[in-house]
């Protein structure tokens, strides 16, 4: 579990304290789908990434969170091989993305933010066409590509299979983007804000699809999102990026526990309402019942939500930047 917020003026390199208490960061090995060390990106005189270290295990679902301009899209584009980094070591499926060949590319699935291509094509026709390129890269345990009808039904577009892409609604279009991303049965899937514009049902179906890909196909998934609820539901692990650095790394529960520390217990006793903040809600509630028994009502235990964590970290980062003070949130081990 790494949890830190460092301001922009800290000396580079040492600016990211590694306070590892659990196995979130592992040495890069054959198991790693992605390994990044000291990744830096500079546009002109502006540093967008200031030394990012990250390892994503094979089969892991990782959510990358962060405010706009934090460097999420830049990071993903570097991993996809669409952007050359300024410095640092990067391996994606064992290959440097700057020198990735077509066989390497065939193992990636990419869903970007703003596709609106192929408007005149029909849904099934496009998936069938794009799938063809992957056929030479099929392996015994990974038949490629998906059958077009199968992938159409996987994303719930069977009824729209023969419609023109340009006539799809925003949510349907997004599902097609996901279908295109997975048609080659990727080992590693990049999803850049995949559910923007989805209605709740489509979102739920998409979440089921992600679980399916991760559980049955052992697809490693790296997704960015602004929807914290979604990150919590989908991701095994959440990484927060702010100001070009990773400021938090852990599961949703870990982050919540360690940033906010305390849970809030609300209850009523004899018609009167109480609120109590505690680090160990379970013990507190046990004592509460031992002491008052049936007199306790309306019990509610609220852990800090991921949103609280997110806001706390972003505020922390921004205030650090404003004052130029280096702030480090060390973990509050529980």
């Amino acid at each position: 579990m790494v949890l830190n917020a460092a301001s922009g003026d800290a000396p580079s390199g040492s600016a990211v304290p590694h306070t590892v208490s659990r196995g979130a960061i592992e040495p890069p090995g054959p198991e790693a789908a992605i390994s990044i060390s000291d990744l830096r990106m500079r546009y002109g005189s502006r540093d967008v990434l200031k030394g990012v270290n990250l390892t994503v295990r094979r089969g892991e679902v990782l959510a990358l969170l962060g405010p706009n301009g934090a460097g999420k899209t830049t990071t993903i584009e570097i991993l996809e091989g669409f952007r050359r980094r300024s410095a640092g070591e990067v391996r994606v499926l064992g290959t440097d993305p700057d020198h990735g060949d077509e066989a390497w590319r065939a193992r990636l699935g990419i869903v970007l933010q703003s596709w609106r291509d192929h408007g005149k094509w029909r849904v099934r026709e496009l998936l069938d066409h794009l799938g063809r390129y992957y056929a030479p890269y099929a392996t015994a345990d990974r038949p490629r590509p998906y059958d077009a009808d199968e992938v159409v039904s996987l994303v719930g577009l069977t009824e729209q299979a023969n419609l023109r892409v340009g006539t799809l609604s925003g949510g349907q279009r997004r599902r097609l983007d996901v279908a295109v991303g997975i048609v080659g049965r990727p080992d590693l899937l990049f999803l850049d804000e995949p559910t923007a514009g989805f209605d709740p049902q489509a979102r739920q179906e998409f979440h089921d699809l992600v679980h399916r890909l991760s559980d049955l196909e052992e697809t490693t998934i790296l997704l960015t999102t602004h929807d914290l609820d979604e990150a919590e539901k989908l991701a095994d692990r959440i990484v927060m990026l702010a100001g070009g650095r990773i400021v938090a790394d852990g599961s949703a529960a870990e982050l919540a526990r360690e940033v906010a520390g305390k849970a809030e217990v609300r209850y009523s006793r004899d018609g009167e309402s109480f609120v109590h903040a505690t680090e160990d809600a379970t013990a507190y509630v046990r004592r509460l019942f031992e002491q008052y028994g049936d007199a306790v009502g309306d019990l509610e235990v609220r852990r800090a939500s991921l949103e609280d964590v997110y806001m706390a970290l972003v505020l922390e980062y921004e205030s650090g930047q404003r004052t130029g003070l280096r702030t480090t949130l060390t973990e509050v081990a529980s």
Binding site: L108, K120, E125, H129
Partner: protein, 283 residues
């Protein structure tokens, strides 16, 4: 089969689908037919004028030139415009994200543009043959010459379209190339034989492929005695092959380099940025 062969096959598939889409799209069809239709009407009105030095109608003499102009507009310009549009909407980035996708994409584009060019040529040629007499459509040599001139002409001009489409970042800025291109069409003797032009202008015309494409089509479609109206009073097939061939070779050497450079710069954020710009542009 190698992965490249598979991608080439997919490219042919793409070309066929996109050709079908163009033919089924009223706007595309209209765009391909409108310019030559206007030119044909003008030439029909001028049909009583004769080619200087002969008694052949200026109208029918101009038809092959109009076909050549149309081939350049639908082929070269059409390819350039679709390339910039495909960059704007993310089609090219999609190709880049697919293994060997750029190879398939370009194969498909070239095939579909070439097919649209040939189709629009036939659509114009048939009514023109009825409107203007004096074209030799019954000879075998007519069609043989038509085929090799067209194929060589497309090889010479399509790479130029690919280069233009790579250099300009939006369909909007592409329109700056229309004026010089129309100027080139004007000096290339599409509507009027270039014999009457000053010699330096004749030289300029003969450097570019449009003149030779038009000359080749005239040699295919017009009676042989009309060669008398050309420079050096011949169809100059050898020179046509040489000039168009040089353009084709140069194009196939330069275009992949320019295309690769352009494709390297494509990323999700560059597509998003262009879209942002396109949305902000006053219509």
């Amino acid at each position: 089969m190698s992965a490249q062969t598979v991608a080439l096959g997919a490219g042919v598939h793409r070309g066929w689908i996109e050709f079908r889409q163009s033919v089924a799209n009223a706007q595309d069809v209209w765009g391909a037919i409108f310019p030559p239709a206007v030119s044909l009407v003008v030439m029909y009105l001028l049909r009583d004028n004769t080619v200087p030095g002969t008694d052949a109608s200026l109208g029918s003499q101009a038809v092959p030139g109009i076909l050549a102009m149309n081939a350049v507009l639908t082929g070269l310009m059409g390819l350039a415009v679709t390339l910039t549009m495909d960059r704007e909407d993310g089609t090219l980035l999609r190709a880049k994200a697919t293994p060997n996708g750029m190879l398939g994409y370009l194969t498909g584009k070239v095939i579909s543009r070439a097919a649209v060019t040939v189709a629009s040529l036939l659509i114009v040629l048939v009514p023109a043959a009825f409107l203007f007499g004096g074209m030799e459509l019954g000879r075998v040599t007519t069609w043989a010459t038509l085929v090799w001139v067209l194929v060589l002409g497309l090889f010479a001009t399509l790479p130029i379209g690919a280069v233009l489409g790579s250099l300009f970042s939006s369909a909007q800025s592409m329109s700056f190339t229309t004026l010089p291109l129309m100027g080139l069409v004007a000096v290339s003797g599409i509507f009027y034989p270039i014999n009457g032009y000053p010699e330096w202008l004749q030289w300029i015309a003969q450097v570019f492929p449009v003149y030779w494409l038009a000359l080749g089509l005239r040699s295919a479609l017009l009676p042989d005695q009309l060669a008398a109206a050309e420079l050096t009073e011949s169809w100059r097939h050898l020179e046509t092959v040489l000039v168009l061939g040089v353009w084709a070779v140069a194009g196939f050497l330069v275009a992949p380099v320019v295309l690769r450079r352009m494709a390297r710069r494509e990323s999700g954020s560059s597509v998003a940025a262009r879209r942002e710009k396109a949305l902000q542009r006053p219509m």
